[in-house]
Symmetry: C2
Subunit: 387 residues, 2 copies
């Protein structure tokens, strides 16, 4: 059941999903615990420590639970390939230099997720002592969804911020070609009752995952997302647009779009400062030098900040104030074209609730990849499917 772009699985509107499934017959709903177990086993079989494999699996499955399948278990094959070709270190020795309220983390070329969980834990520990803490990470790889780490701060009752640079796919304002990453920023804020506020956004007009999803759905890319190598809008067939981006014949526009009239300088400026903090200042790669996981040491940089609310006001006062703010947003008059007014993170949260009950819809092609990898690794496949 569709209402203004929202998907409800039941007519009473209790089962919400933020993702549109192309063709529901192409998907199988898998229990999230089973999926978590399965993906962990795969990474352990590749030589990762079990605690690291568990973290990677949890980040990926959480993305799937939240309806961000572009960052979910469909990434397993990419990471596995990276490990197999030697671009990723399966057993990194993470090094940390702590000083004052800061920590500098060298990820030793491992996958980004375990390093990032450690880095955010350091930022939280600093914020416990000093009110604010920051960790910068270098020599890392893709870390999955930025919001996962910001939410780790919320688990401690803190405000969490996470950001990362990433493979260059986005054009810098007024220029041509792929130069900036989609460099996302996430900010998570605790609330007295779930869901917490979770702002998590690429600084590009859309993440590349959205173009991939449009390609799978056979949808048309609207004018204003992508430009070709001459600077003209590239729209229409999403598979063609995606191919052009991959072949460096096109680039995604920054948030705010082409030029400066609607703020393209703001999106690309925001992306630039995220890159300066997480890439330049950490000692990682930046801009077009950030590598791709299956090819070489990516040297991705991340930054994590935790902010201790109780250094500024008591927790109950904060909770009262944030609850009033949320209530005021919820009472706003909605735009006639919108289904409802959402708090950042609310759609992901509702999707998670739905998928915890019904299972996560995983595309059959992704399941085939996981089965293939499991066979190669001589692992037992934990479910029997007729794909």
């Amino acid at each position: 059941m569709f209402i203004n772009g929202c998907v409800f699985l039941t007519s009473d509107l209790t089962m919400f999903e933020k993702e549109v499934l192309v063709d529901p017959k192409e998907y199988v709903r898998i229990d999230h615990k089973l999926l978590r177990f399965w993906v962990t086993e795969i990474f352990v079989s590749l030589g990762l420590r079990s605690e690291d494999a568990e973290v990677i699996s949890d980040v990926l499955v959480t993305a799937d639970l939240m309806g961000i399948s572009s960052h979910g278990v469909q990434r397993v094959k990419r990471y596995v390939d990276g490990i197999k070709v030697g671009a990723v270190n399966p057993k990194p020795e993470i090094k940390v230099v702590e000083r004052g309220a800061t920590a500098l983390v060298d990820g030793d070329n491992g996958l980004g997720h375990p390093t990032s969980v450690k880095a955010m834990a350091l930022a939280i520990a600093k914020a416990e002592s000093y009110g604010i803490g920051i960790s910068l990470v270098r020599r890392s790889h893709h870390f999955g969804i930025a919001g996962y780490y910001a939410l780790k701060a919320v688990d401690k009752g803190f405000i969490g911020v996470s950001m990362t640079n990433s493979e260059a796919l986005v054009s810098y304002v007024n220029s041509l070609g792929r130069f900036l990453g989609t460099n996302p920023l996430a900010v998570a804020v605790p609330t007295p009752t779930p869901p917490p506020i979770l702002f998590d956004a690429a600084t590009s007009i859309v993440p590349v995952g959205k173009v991939e999803i449009y390609a799978k759905l056979g949808r048309e890319i609207p004018e204003g997302w992508v430009i070709d190598s001459e600077g003209n809008y590239l729209k229409g067939n999403a598979s063609e647009v995606l191919k052009a981006i991959k072949n460096h014949r096109a680039s995604i526009l920054p948030l705010g779009g082409l030029g400066e009239e609607f703020g393209g300088h703001k999106g690309s400026g925001l992306s630039l400062v995220i890159d300066i903090i997480s890439g330049i200042l950490s000692g990682a790669a930046w801009g077009p030098h950030v590598g791709y996981t299956t090819v070489k040491e990516a040297n991705v940089g991340h930054a994590f900040i935790a902010l201790n609310i109780e250094f500024f006001m008591d927790k109950n006062t904060f909770y009262e104030r944030i609850s009033k703010y949320i209530k005021e947003i919820k009472e706003l008059k909605k735009h006639p074209k919108a289904y409802k007014v959402w708090i950042p993170g609310e759609k992901s949260w509702l999707t998670m609730e739905t998928r915890k009950k019904l299972g996560i819809p995983i595309h059959k092609n992704v399941l085939k990849e996981l089965i293939e990898i499991s066979k190669e690794q001589h692992l037992e496949i934990p479910l029997s499917l007729d794909l």
Copy 2:
């Protein structure tokens, strides 16, 4: 001389201005030192401490030097009115509570500028000791351009961040009406040679100052900046659009525009988290509760962060890396419709260089206001003009 929206005062392109002057005959170029002196005198005559008056004057004149006249001395009358009606405390007793790497500042209802300079100085001092420092401010008023304070950190060789909430003029994504401020974010980054990088952007698609400038220029507002109270685009005559915003019959859209297709949820989410940190967590007002300086205690909230580069790498290494990054941006192939590829803050810097030499073009109406105020305050007018 105009080249793709850029203004050059000389044919050799050395005298750059980012602002288009409606009708140059309507402006008089005033020496920035004289203007600074004059505005300081005005605020001293209204009972402000001379050191506070100097700061306010410097922030306003710096905005004019940078070509951001919406935040320049044209604001003097507004602040003066606020003081005269008793909405602003001319002699605030600023209170500071320091703890760890944080400071919480109560502005005692003074103008935002002196309080903000003190708050950023506290954040810098914290960053000297701990690597990072944060100050939150409550019970403040409008602080002028966010970038001014971020640049204070750059003066010390640090990365500076400043943000503030502001009068509600912007609609929250998927909703109608003025609810969020234009809540700007500024990040300043030191470079080995000027200009420093200065990202300074409202989280709305345009700042209200841009609509005001379009009204003065008699230009048309394009579709996509503003919606009316039914959610339809409001475009065309800028004076009419501005009037509709002021009368609560229209609102500015967040960065990313209407709905979610081009990222309106990103702009409004960013604005929301800036409001949570600078408004909710500081103990200031938030969203529609932020007041207007000429009416009542505004209770504006600000946040300032300083980041000590040397906690992460030695300064020379940082300078080498950031210089390479800037060089790479400058070498990008420009979009055919753009005049050139700019670094954030570069246009403002060049405008400042021009205006330091030639004087700041101040509109005659603004000069008349300053003269009027000076007469009321029985001040000598430091220049003779035939307006």
